[in-house]
Symmetry: none
Subunit: 210 residues, 4 copies
């Protein structure tokens, strides 16, 4: 962290950009998502609500998708993996907190939307991956590392990348699908049964390659 100042204020001349405006805009974006949802959200709406001119929005973000990605990314960063004492408890915990996040109106309405947009927009896909998707793999990595410390999982013998990616897609995919596609509540019962399924699968894999 030493000396890692991200941008030493390049600021050449003229009036500097308002940091307060940035905050107001992102707050307004989340509030508007809650109220009207993704498809009825407009840039003008956000600007008015933030007390800011449309020009100010477009000076910072290329469009609605980019703005919303940034606005909801911070919510995903709030996900944590407190130590519950066992791998099973850790997984159940992260499943439930991820589900809770997806049930918030801001994320429910916008996550699928920006992913949909990103299928035809490479720059946006990169932004979504960097700001939202890729960062959540840290949770899988942390859980795995903690389980290895406890002896619940064997140490890595070869590259853990593929396994981490697989587990990530399975957990995130199942939770997203249940919450947004099947549109059913994710309760403790479901989390327990889901966790059992994948931990049993992982355990079998460990035995198979001792």
């Amino acid at each position: 962290m030493v000396g890692a100042m991200p941008a030493p204020t390049p600021h050449r001349r003229g009036r500097p950009r308002s940091a307060a405006a940035d905050r107001a805009i992102l707050d307004a974006t989340r509030a508007a998502l809650v109220e009207v949802g993704w498809s009825r959200l407009t840039m003008s709406h956000v600007a008015t609500r933030a007390g800011v001119a449309k020009t100010t929005l477009y000076r910072r973000w290329a469009g609605k998708s980019e703005l919303v990605v940034d606005a909801v990314a911070v919510l995903f960063d709030e996900l944590e993996l407190p130590d519950r004492g066992s791998l099973r408890a850790d997984v159940e915990s992260v499943v439930l907190s991820f589900a809770a996040l997806l049930e918030r109106p801001e994320t429910k309405t916008s996550l699928m939307a920006v992913i949909a947009e990103s299928t035809y927009d490479d720059a946006l896909r990169a932004r979504v991956r960097e700001a939202i998707v890729e960062r959540q793999k840290r949770l899988v990595l942390a859980g795995r590392h903690r389980a290895q410390e406890r002896g619940e999982l064997p140490r890595d013998t070869d590259d853990p990348g593929p396994v981490v990616d697989l587990i990530f897609d399975v957990i995130a995919g199942a939770v997203v699908h249940r919450a947004l596609v099947s549109a059913e509540r994710i309760g403790e019962e479901w989390a327990r049964r889901f966790t059992t399924l994948i931990l049993d699968g992982l355990a079998a894999a460990s035995r198979a390659t001792p």
Copy 2:
């Protein structure tokens, strides 16, 4: 059973709706999705391409989302579960054909979009569930039944509903997430490792509750 004809041409008065128009519209919708993607797709565009008036579209569908749901639903109905001889082979097969479907431009660009819309539109959500989501559970049911016939899975002792739902969310979720969110190819290698994971999980569950 006489007289149980499903729809004995209710057609009472006036000029009947053109079935050719229906077909032309759905074809044009899929073609337009391939060419311009969901977000640049417009009703006018579809109407022109189908050689049909805009009013004819709106007489049949309430909007772009509803139209696209119907247009892509038939693609999902083409998914099948041919008997590959074992549960493992059946699962790998359905994973790969589902992945292939999601990589088609028509579906890639629109599936997430209509699901996103459906989070704020109850009627649309119902339509998506009925036309797309719920119908694919038949694949899970068929695979399960066939495996039970082969003796690979125990006969149901209690209500199989929750298990089927879980397996469905896990398989569909993982494939969708890998294909559309992580945006990585789903090859035979991934399908094999994924299948191993969940079959091992299921096997362990079977042993636990004999």
Copy 3:
């Protein structure tokens, strides 16, 4: 008049046109003009109100303008010139009854409209002249003839056509302009002053060319 039967039922074969439908359509047109005015009047509206299909309208009239001309023409035919005993009284009477006709909502809203349409549509102009304008000259002719009988006006020495046309344009024009352009009520006071003006003008002309 002998043998001048206009159309001895040409009717070759098939179902004859319904005379009741004609009446219902014209009644519905006038009623709709009263309620919604010319510009909001639609053919569908008239058809529905008359309990008739749109095809039945278009089989008889080419469009809204033609229909409305026929619908209001009969109102103009109701104008009469009862003998009030003097030319002055006759003129005042016709001015007031013409004004009353123009203040009815059916005519107020549609007369100017069909005339406006007719400026770019020769067939319509001919129809308007035949069905509405030209027929009202009979009032001028009748008043003039009666005044000559009474000795209030000299007998014609040369072609009365130009004078009749002039008087017709002056009377009809002034009343229409006051009623529809200036949009002011035409009361007895105005009728008296207007009548004085043109009768004095006519009287002077008579003296000048004895």
Copy 4:
């Protein structure tokens, strides 16, 4: 009287409206009226022709009627009453120039149309009166004043308002009726006979009330 400046650039904030756009729109409206007439004139057509967006039209005018009123009003303002030396010559002159105006395609096709619309639209009626009708009374007033200066007419003894209104309706009405309803040319012969009629009528009135 200080500070009574009529409009001290109220312009407070934001980009000001383009005066060039206003001019282009009104010019395009008149040109389109000449080419396609009132009923085929569309807002899109005008916008395209003026090189302007439809929204820009609607930001300034509520609809086609309002736009056309403003577009043709300036043509009426071009009417003048040059001093021809006598009341008779002045009246003949204004009759002929008014007739010439009504024979221009822009006015012929649209004047009746906007008056027709105005019979069911109070705001439009007010606009027509203010922008077109009422302003032309200045011609009657000017002619009357000039005739009084010459001694051709007696000075006003009582309120001239009713007389001016009457003369205005008679002159404007007769010319409009001849030009647009009877649809006949207004030549010098007609103008002379018409002028004789009303001047004789006025002269008789003057003698009657010395």
